[in-house]
């Protein structure tokens, strides 16, 4: 009986949704009718490349390290290291040299080749570095009074709302960060990204607001924005092309 139930469940699951049809339906509802390429002027005789394309590839480590430096203040590696360490020593950040191997940089002296695919240690290092960069950016751009001029902020290029943001208010601010880190408007993301980050923001703010919340160097709202920064600087699309 259990086997029959299992078989029925798998069949139902397989029949339940048709993503292609859903996408077409959604496109129709959005008023963007699907048009075959051959119907477009000048495309009738053009060959179409239907071969399977490669999946996303990991950026060379130099690229995302340079991106870290550019986004988080345009500093030199040494200046960024000093700023990230701050007065807390190695609590947030050690030295770039400590992370180079796990970030995937080659070391020709030691005959270690470039890492071209992610591994768990690399993701751990993304997190370690991302936390340091985001925390310091939040301290610098959000947690000071008065806040620096909007034009000089490199990560949090918006004015936070005085009260808890509505979804629309959050989306407007999140979009600024999304364009900075990922390079395109958040609404074009292929995932429900804005909604997901809003949930993350709300959950972090709630955790930091509740009674008995652990001490933090950031206000609850700023902790929420720092978490959003964590998510973007570690996002798979940030590290791939």
């Amino acid at each position: 009986m259990k086997r029959l139930t299992l078989a029925a469940m798998v069949m139902l699951a397989a029949c339940a949704k048709d993503p292609d049809r859903d996408a077409a339906e959604e496109a129709k509802n959005n008023g963007v009718p699907s048009t075959p390429a051959s119907d477009l002027p000048g495309h009738g005789s053009l060959a179409q490349d239907n071969t399977t394309k490669e999946g996303p590839r990991l950026l060379p480590a130099e690229v995302y390290i340079q991106a870290y430096l550019d986004i988080f203040g345009g500093l030199s590696p040494l200046a960024a290291e000093l700023a990230s360490r701050g007065k807390e020593g190695s609590a947030l950040f050690d030295t770039w040299r400590d992370y180079l191997a796990s970030l995937g940089m080659p070391d020709y002296e030691k005959d270690i080749s470039r890492v071209t695919q992610t591994n768990a240690m690399m993701l751990a290092t993304f997190e370690r570095v991302g936390i340091a960069l985001c925390d310091r950016a939040a301290e610098r751009e959000l947690d000071t009074t008065p806040r620096p001029a909007l034009a000089t902020r490199t990560v949090f290029g918006f004015e936070p709302t005085a009260a808890a943001p509505t979804e629309a208010e959050f989306a407007e601010r999140f979009d600024v960060m999304h364009r900075t880190f990922i390079g395109y408007p958040a609404k074009l993301a292929e995932t429900p990204r804005t909604a997901r980050f809003f949930e993350l923001y709300k959950s972090v703010v709630a955790k930091h607001t509740e009674k008995g919340a652990p001490a933090s160097g950031l206000t609850p709202a700023n902790a929420g924005w720092a978490a959003v920064c964590y998510g973007l600087v570690r996002h798979p699309e940030f590290h791939t092309y």
């Binding site: 796990s102 070391d107 240690m121 370690r128 570690r234 798979p236």
Partner: protein
């Protein structure tokens, strides 16, 4: 119901049938590698087998044996003068403990006493004298294709088969690890690092501003993002890999993993290894890491390199001591594993479930060159310590006068010397895995398996 949906339903029915049939039961059965651990060591630079695993102590043919003139013998605990080569120049007496069928050179150190645990492969046809090519051949069973590594290395293979459930399936410290092919699970990707200590720093976290719950929430969300991106990707493997690795990350940054990458703590936990050894001192931490990581059941495979064997000139005098330090550490490793309880198998010891393989890219010339060193030579030896292998046994041999590989058995392509590919295929096959799943070349040498 259109054709597409019909086929999908059919697929669903097929999956249901599989789920309830013998296939699932077969998948659920414990594999031959469950609870097993692997240690791979690359003696990098190309070791001189004539003082270790394939001894030569007579001047015969091309052979210039190691002597009191060309080797620093003072540090070698097993060196005994064996016969005059020239006036005032002595070669060595081979080392063969009572009961041993294996004969060693004087650099074997304490490992000689573990003869009943050893399987020695001599006369391996490495067919190269290039470091890069030989290194890749030793670890993957394939030569370099141009500059490209064309196959996965043995540590990645074993991690993929048996380690994806571990927090750290494969840790590689300067071992020539490679991860090639779409069919491998991304969690088995070897963690390539240049030192154990540097990994600890990447895992350190502070709750200064955000806490562990906040970080976990970010990681969980990113994992979901990666899974969703995989669904819309032509090639979902990269994003699937991201998602799986993010799931593993939560386990890595909490609990005992960070302690595992602290050199000082490792040395305190495993004082038996010689951290002050002149040449292999830094490598000792890797041995300690292997034991502690296996003891805590966090890894499946630990691979590392022990360097310094590329002695083209007068530095050859230290070749014996370098090998001895490495072999002594392997002897200590065997002892520690024998004394350490298995983390999941009650009443068993790690030594009963740990499989060690030591390889090098090639060996060194039988002749001493004009600068008192030995150059690269297309022959190789390897060492296996594994309960799956027959021990106190040497397989294959090299020419007594030229030190070149001799035919060791019949393979599907005729009688020939075994190659590193055969050794790796045998290692993989010992655990019930078809080597063809990962390797183009290589045959299982059944006569060395229990």
């Amino acid at each position: 119901m259109d054709r597409r949906n019909f086929l999908k339903c059919l697929g669903g029915a097929g999956a249901a049938a599989l789920a309830s049939g013998p296939m699932l039961r077969a998948l659920a059965e414990p594999s031959a590698g469950e609870g097993e651990f692997f240690v791979f060591i690359h003696a990098s630079g190309g070791w001189d087998v004539t003082v270790g695993l394939d001894p030569r102590f007579e001047a015969k043919g091309l052979i210039d044996p190691a002597t009191t003139r060309n080797l620093d013998t003072a540090a070698l605990t097993r060196w005994k003068d064996g016969g005059a080569i020239e006036v005032g120049e002595q070669s060595f007496a081979p080392v063969q403990p009572a009961g041993s069928k294996l004969v060693f050179g004087p650099a074997i150190g304490d490992l000689a006493d573990k003869y009943d645990r050893l399987t020695v492969f001599n006369g391996l046809a490495v067919n190269t004298v290039s470091h890069g090519d030989g290194t890749v051949f030793a670890a993957t069973g394939r030569h370099l294709a141009g500059g490209r590594v064309p196959a996965s290395s043995i540590d990645a293979i074993m991690a993929n088969e048996f380690g994806v459930g571990q927090i750290l399936p494969s840790v590689s410290v300067r071992f020539p690890s490679s991860f090639v092919g779409q069919h491998l699970d991304r969690r088995a990707m070897p963690l390539l690092v240049d030192g154990i200590g540097s990994m600890g720093r990447a895992l350190a976290r502070t709750n200064m501003n955000l806490g562990v719950d906040d970080r976990s929430a970010v990681t969980a969300m990113l994992s979901q993002e990666a899974q969703d991106l995989a669904k819309v990707s032509n090639d979902p493997s990269a994003m699937q890999g991201f998602a799986l690795q993010l799931q593993a990350l939560t386990k890595m940054t909490g609990g005992p993993v960070q302690t595992l990458f602290d050199s000082a703590k490792l040395q305190a936990a495993q004082p038996t290894f010689n951290y002050r050894a002149q040449y292999m001192g830094p490598v000792a931490t890797n041995f300690a890491f292997a034991v502690e990581a296996m003891k805590a059941n966090l890894v499946r495979s630990v691979a590392f390199a022990a360097g310094g064997f590329d002695t083209h000139n007068s530095s050859y005098v230290d070749q014996g001591q370098k090998q001895q330090e490495l072999f002594d550490m392997i002897a200590r490793l065997i002892e520690v594993l024998d004394a350490t309880p298995h983390p999941t198998k009650t009443g068993r010891r790690l030594g009963e479930h740990t499989h060690i393989m030591v390889v090098s890219e090639f060996c060194r010339t039988p002749q001493i060159n004009q600068t008192m060193g030995r150059d690269h030579y297309p022959n190789g030896s390897a060492l296996v310590v594994s309960p799956k292998f027959k021990s106190n046994m040497a397989y294959g041999s090299s020419d007594p006068e030229q030190l070149l590989p001799r035919a060791s058995g019949k393979f599907y392509d005729g009688e020939r010397a075994a190659t590193p590919a055969d050794l790796l295929a045998t290692f993989v096959g010992a655990f019930g895995v078809d080597p063809r799943k990962y390797m183009r070349d290589g045959e299982v040498i059944k006569e060395v398996l229990r």
